[in-house]
């Protein structure tokens, strides 16, 4: 496979994952803004920060008005991480690697782009927002379904999955990072409504609020939420889960190519490190420090993959 093709697949799926995650973030922010009248601006600010767009946003707008943030994160093409920008970029990458995709996957990505172009042609009014966010997630699900249902399980698939999980791990880590103070035991008024709302928001941003309840965690505590998001092996958006997936896709590449690179070693070290941890030791280390370190290592892993598999000249 061409290095460029591997890179195109990787970025195509990073972008698709990002679109979906941004939609979830907006949804969680929207919900909290609906249920709590005070301090909306700081909620929207943290949404923008989590999406990595607070800096660019502040250059364009005063304050953090909900309509502005939503527009910036959904539609603004000046924002390279807006849903519209990343869906366009995913589709451009899909065109680039079209010969590596099945017709079903290509059509799903192209449909996604055409649907979003229509849906996001005008600013989204609040009453329409839930429908729009729903469509974004549905469209992503269609692409993912086409990928799972029709693609050979070869290196093409592995690079697609690597993009997905590197992005997902980064995203979950950012959510924790921005909200880490609400997860610290020291500041917790355990069981207070404020904490509950915050934790629920976090869980909603990774579509895990119901899963959390199914797991019979009656006690919603800072530490149980943090444990769930970081160390749970069943939650498809936890840090450990994403990392394990990345690692296993890298191992598959290593088997297929008969060649081991630094990225494999780095990934398995990260998995080993994380499996040995428990949540208490993470809190001892400092949640913020831990998360910052994770984001750094995950980014470094992404760069190693780019180099090991010659994405760029």
């Amino acid at each position: 496979m061409l290095g460029k093709t591997a890179g195109g697949l990787y970025w195509m799926f990073r972008n698709l994952e990002r679109a979906e995650n941004t939609a979830r973030l907006i949804e969680a922010g929207f919900r909290i803004a609906l249920t709590r009248s005070q301090d909306k601006a700081s909620e929207w600010k943290s949404v923008a920060t989590t999406a990595g767009a607070a800096g660019a946003f502040s250059q364009k707008y005063e304050g953090f008005d909900s309509a502005d943030v939503i527009d910036f994160l959904l539609r603004d093409t000046d924002n390279p991480s807006s849903v519209m920008s990343v869906i366009k970029s995913a589709r451009d990458n899909a065109r680039l690697v079209r010969t590596a995709l099945t017709t079903e996957v290509w059509t799903a990505v192209n449909d996604n782009w055409m649907t979003m172009k229509d849906l996001l042609a005008e600013p989204v009014v609040e009453t329409e927002l839930p429908k729009v966010l729903d469509t974004i997630r549905q469209q992503s699900a269609l692409v993912r379904g086409a990928l799972h249902g029709t693609m050979l399980r070869n290196d093409i698939y592995d690079f697609a999955r690597l993009g997905t999980f590197i992005e997902r791990a980064d995203n979950t880590a950012r959510i924790i990072d921005v909200k880490y103070y609400t997860l610290l035991p020291s500041t917790s008024f355990v069981g207070s409504s404020l904490d509950n709302v915050q934790w629920e928001t976090i869980l909603r941003s990774v579509s895990a609020h119901r899963a959390f309840r199914w797991l019979d965690e009656e006690d919603m505590t800072a530490s149980s939420v943090a444990q769930f998001l970081i160390l749970d092996r069943r939650l498809p958006r936890s840090l450990l889960f994403s990392l394990q997936q990345t690692c296993s896709n890298l191992e598959r590449l290593c088997d297929a190519y008969g060649e081991r690179h630094t990225s494999q070693d780095h990934a398995s070290q990260m998995v080993d490190g994380l499996t040995k941890r428990d949540i208490a030791s993470i809190f001892d280390e400092g949640l913020h420090e831990f998360i910052t370190g994770f984001i750094r290592d995950n980014n470094a892993l992404g760069q190693m993959i780019e180099q090991d598999y010659k994405f760029y000249g």
């Binding site: 496979m1 061409l2 290095g3 460029k4 591997a6 366009k88 451009d92 065109r95 680039l96 079209r98 010969t99 017709t103 290509w106 059509t107 192209n110 449909d111 055409m114 290196d155 690079f159 190519y257 060649e259 598999y309 010659k310 000249g313």
Partner: protein
């Protein structure tokens, strides 16, 4: 006035009866519910958009992608007529390859005085770098798209020989695919010669032109300028259908005297490069130094006989509009036979007598730039306003050698499907010929382009043209 009355209509013929090739189709058409056809038409458009069969228009926003409108009425050619056409194309393509070999070697045609030396000496498409160089298999034009128009029952003219990187073949294939999906019952009633072998034939033909030094199965790649190129869809489509790699210049480099592509496992060799990048951008070390679309050093590899470039650099000298006017002589010179396909009368404005004739009759002529393509920079006299004629006359006087002129041909019409039913529109035809040392292969039919605007003669997709499926009957 019904402007189409004086034209040959391929369905109705001169006697206003349905011509035999269309008989079965017309019977079928008359039985169809127009409502169903309309919804089929919309289905087809949606299919093209979803599949991404689009092209980018230069000068517009990079994100701007357009569909080439597809008309669901096929253009039908009898097997007998096709045989004659395809013989004529084969002859012409053979002559073009012989001409290219000659012009880059002994230049017999210039020595014989049948073609003026200036035509070559002052031609930008003539590449001195190709002098004395023998391309693998001695093939220059691996793929040729010959633009043909029809005037009457047996009256076919070649309008242009596209010997560089002709495009449109993906539409030929997708149009047929779409027709098969929409109207399977038609193909049960009417025996149409298939076109679907084209990608397989293209691959085989390219592989047969691999360099002599190539060992094992030749590795073929398609070189594209990238996703914003107007024909990117076609590049990826052909690579996909052939099972070849789709590469850009930055994926390739010269390693140990060979062209290699950067893969996830290191550098791998390519033997045949089907390039869809113009000569000028092919090698920044040899041609345009600013080019980022090509591969630095590829011309050295080419000269050393370690890569096949298809089509060969420098083939543009054969499809120049000034050379075009010499095609009848050229065919005779190299094949020893009279040209089967006719040439359109052409006035070379570089010749003073011709220029004054052209200026006097501008309103009746079509004037084209010698090096232009895609219908840009041309004047269609009968359709031009007084002001446009005057402006163009000024351009002609300023640079006469930049132009040729031809009579306005009354191109044949084929009906398209409109609100009111069927309506005649002008068409042309671009069949595709593949050349290798094993022979010339021409896919039955080709791409029919149709001017969708009533009375219009401009079929180019960049200027409001559409396409039709082209059927050659098994008869």
């Amino acid at each position: 006035m019904d402007d189409t009355e004086k034209h040959f209509d391929e369905m109705r013929g001169p006697a206003d009866q349905v011509r035999p090739p269309y008989a079965t189709y017309r019977t079928w058409f008359d039985q169809q519910d127009p409502e169903r056809l309309r919804s089929k038409h919309e289905e087809a458009e949606a299919f093209f958009r979803r599949t991404g069969i689009t092209f980018n228009v230069y000068g517009e926003d990079a994100a701007q992608e357009r569909l080439i409108p597809f008309d669901l009425v096929p253009r039908i050619i009898s097997g007998r007529q096709w045989q004659k056409l395809s013989k004529g194309i084969e002859q012409r393509v053979t002559a073009i390859n012989a001409f290219l070999h000659d012009i880059y070697h002994r230049q017999e045609i210039l020595r014989s005085g049948r073609m003026p030396r200036e035509l070559i000496a002052q031609n930008d498409a003539f590449l001195p770098q190709m002098i004395g160089m023998a391309p693998p298999g001695n093939v220059y034009t691996h793929i040729v798209g010959t633009d043909i128009v029809r005037i009457g029952e047996d009256d076919f003219y070649v309008l242009e020989d596209n010997a560089r990187t002709p495009s449109g073949v993906s539409y030929m294939l997708e149009n047929r695919e779409t027709m098969l999906q929409m109207f399977p019952e038609l193909f049960a009633r009417i025996k149409v010669q298939p076109v679907s072998d084209y990608p397989k034939n293209l691959r085989a033909s390219l592989a047969a032109c691999a360099p002599a030094s190539c060992q094992g199965k030749p590795r073929v790649a398609v070189l594209t300028p990238g996703i914003y190129n107007s024909a990117y869809f076609e590049h990826s489509f052909l690579a996909d259908q052939m099972g070849a790699q789709l590469v850009e210049g930055h994926d390739l480099r010269v390693v140990d005297g060979h062209i290699k592509m950067r893969t996830t496992r290191g550098y791998e060799q390519i033997d045949v490069l089907y390039r869809r990048v113009d000569d000028e951008y092919l090698d920044p070390l040899t041609f345009n130094p600013e080019s980022t679309l090509g591969v630095p050093g590829i011309m050295d590899v080419y000269r050393a006989g370690n890569i096949t470039i298809a089509n060969a650099p420098g083939t543009g000298v054969a499809d120049d509009k000034a050379i075009y006017s010499y095609m009848p002589e050229l065919v005779e010179f190299y094949t020893g036979e009279k040209a089967i396909l006719k040439n359109v009368d052409t006035w070379r404005c570089s010749e003073p007598d011709s220029l004054s004739y052209v200026l006097d009759n501008l309103a009746d002529l079509v004037v084209k730039e010698v090096h232009g393509s895609g219908g840009y920079g041309m004047l269609v006299g009968p359709a031009a306003s007084k002001q446009e004629l005057e402006d163009f006359a000024a351009k002609l006087r300023a640079r006469p050698s930049n132009y040729i002129a031809q009579p306005t041909l009354s191109l044949s019409t084929v009906p398209i499907f409109v609100e009111q039913g069927l309506a005649p529109r002008h068409v042309d035809l671009r069949p595709f010929a593949l050349v290798s040392p094993k022979g010339i292969n021409i896919t039955p039919g080709g791409l029919t382009r149709v001017a969708l605007k009533e009375g219009s003669l401009v079929v180019n997709s960049s200027q409001g043209g559409g396409t039709k499926d082209t059927w050659v009957l098994e008869d």
